[in-house]
Amino acid sequence: MADFPLAINLQGDYGYKVVIVDDSNTIEEVIGTSVDQIVSVLVAPFPEGTILRARVHGANKPLNNSLRIADANFIQMEALEIYVEE
């Protein structure tokens, strides 16, 4: 277990933030941590039932929610977008 900094831009926010997660965290947990830190601070709460996904910046496909950071082959400060699934 080790701290792992990620660059995160949550949908609606004006820019990227550096969010520290644990490398044992899953993508779903990363989304949760980011929501905790940014929603109601810079982004209004999402409507109930909203599904958020994460993807590497510029990628088309979302990351698997169960993927662990340690297994994701990320470089420290990897840039992830967290967005509302349509």
């Binding site: 926010d13 004006y14 990227y16 933030k17 420290q76 840039a79």
Partner: protein, 503 residues
């Protein structure tokens, strides 16, 4: 004895050059200090400045300017202008003086290098005036700012800021080190004079001077005018240098120097002038927006100058046209929410009336950046002040040192560019910032942003470690300039709406 007329001796004097005999030309002008771009000395000697001035005339003109500026200052020193100025204007003055005073000394250093190492005697002559100008600009602004120190300790940072590792100062210093401090005399003439002075000083000195006069701050207005009249003269050192390079097969090199410098300085002015014009200028005195000034003076006038000199418009011109509507709005949110990391008292400047102005000048502002301000203002109205400060720090661009931002709200667009070297990821806020880095990675890769320093252990883990590193005691951490009272306007709007609803 009758004096010769200037036109009878000026050209002879300015064209008189050394013919080195005890040292070689390379020893007299070592390349790291004086790149000749493989253009022979006799060609550099054709440098012909468009604005000609003698030392006698220069001294007289400068003396008259100083007398004018200091007289206005003395006359107004007894007034209570500063005490009665709004937090908007106080924030603007603090930002301007603490970012610009010492930057003038960077320019003095750069001009001094041109004075010694320029190949052309005419250029050395003009650069001598430029050096004196910049020393004067540094001194007059620090002196004028000193007047405010008795009213507000924030102005200590006009002198102190350059010696700190505050994140904003790191950003400004990195840009100026790159274009002014660490370039040879020829390159610096193009980068400083064309990329900074000719392109951008109108924004901060002419536009701001007009705003200052409208606000009744005649001391500041007079001082800015006095400075800009120098800038307009000495900025012209760069134009003949570009012309010589273009005419001698070095257009590509000149083009690249302009493109690097222009983008680096645009990012600085986007934050400084952008926030100053669109947020810190009191609403009742605002006329044109940053976007409008940029379109007329930079995209228009500077663009035409670039083409008239035989260069092309920078490759990123279309990116710039988008950036003038976005970057500073995003950065204003960051400057406000991370206000404790700044030494002045930032203001939100997003009351209902101010939002109307922003929406008029930047259609779509309310559904983009305004969405973040909806959340911030609601938290303040609810008394949730802690929620107005994000736990997560911002990602900082490894070139410009400002936040990596995109478009917020309903038209959300994440923007990020990166380069990996070894195990380190370098993030950039824009394609041009990344392009500059990739031109010369060895020049830039060792620089660390404040966030890099936070995570590599340079800065300790405790919150106070961060502020101590940036030179900010508890009393020097920014707080809301209006103590949150700006949200009262929202209550009035709500009351009006509820009255209308109930008839």
């Amino acid at each position: 004895m009758a004096l010769l007329k200037m036109e009878e001796w000026y050209d002879l004097a300015r064209e008189t050059n050394w013919t080195p005999s005890y040292v070689s030309e390379d020893e007299l002008y070592p390349e790291p200090m004086s790149n000749n771009y493989d253009i022979p000395l006799e060609t550099w000697e054709t440098f012909d400045e468009p604005y000609k001035v003698t030392y006698r005339d220069y001294v007289k003109a400068q003396r008259d300017k100083d007398v004018g500026a200091y007289s206005v200052k003395a006359a107004l020193a007894r007034s209570d202008f500063f005490k009665n100025a709004s937090p908007h204007w106080k924030a603007l003055l603090a930002l301007h003086f603490s970012a610009v005073c010492w930057a003038e000394f960077h320019s003095a250093s750069s001009f001094a290098r041109m004075t010694r190492f320029s190949r052309s005697p005419g250029m050395r002559n003009m650069a001598t005036f430029g050096t004196l100008d910049e020393i004067r600009h540094g001194q007059i602004q620090i002196y004028f700012a000193y007047e405010f120190l008795k009213h507000d300790a924030v102005f200590d940072w006009c002198h102190k800021s350059s010696k700190t590792e505050n994140w904003i100062i790191i950003s400004v210093r990195h840009a100026l080190d790159d274009i002014a401090h660490t370039r040879d005399a020829t390159s610096a003439a193009i980068m400083l004079n064309m990329g900074l002075e000719l392109a951008f000083t109108n924004l901060q000195f002419v536009a701001l001077s007009a705003d200052a006069a409208k606000c009744g701050d005649h001391t500041f207005a007079t001082m800015l005018q006095s400075i800009q009249s120098d800038e307009a003269r000495h900025a012209q050192v760069g134009e003949p240098v570009v012309r010589i390079m273009v005419e001698n097969g070095k257009k590509k090199e000149a083009q690249q120097l302009v493109e690097i410098a222009f983008w680096r300085i645009w990012k600085q002015f986007s934050a400084l002038s952008g926030i100053g014009m669109d947020y810190y200028t009191p609403l009742e005195h605002r006329e044109n927006s940053l976007k409008e000034f940029m379109e007329e003076w930079v995209i228009g006038q500077f663009g035409r100058t670039v083409e008239a000199l035989g260069l092309d418009l920078p490759w990123y011109w279309d990116i710039l046209k988008q950036d003038i509507s976005n970057f500073h709005h995003a950065n204003q949110i960051g400057v406000y929410v991370y206000r404790a990391t700044e030494w002045w008292r930032p203001i939100a400047s997003t009351s209902p009336a101010e939002r109307e102005w922003l929406e008029e000048k930047y259609p779509g502002w309310n559904e983009t950046y305004g969405k973040c301000w909806d959340v911030i203002s609601q938290n303040i109205r609810n008394g949730d002040y802690e929620k107005t400060v994000p736990v997560a720090p911002p990602l900082i661009c490894n070139m410009c040192g400002l936040e990596v931002t995109g478009v917020a709200g309903d038209k959300w667009r994440a923007v990020n560019h990166h380069v990996d070297i070894g195990n380190r990821r370098y993030h950039f806020c824009s394609e041009p910032c990344k392009w500059i880095f990739e031109l010369e990675p060895s020049r830039y890769k060792g620089h660390k942003s404040i966030i890099d320093r936070l995570f590599d252990g340079t800065i300790g883990p405790e919150p106070d470690d961060f502020y101590n590193y940036m030179g900010q005691s508890p009393a020097e951490r920014g707080t809301d300039g209006y103590e949150y009272q700006w949200v009262d306007g929202y209550d009035e709007v709500d009351d009006d709406q509820s009255l209308r609803a109930t008839g």
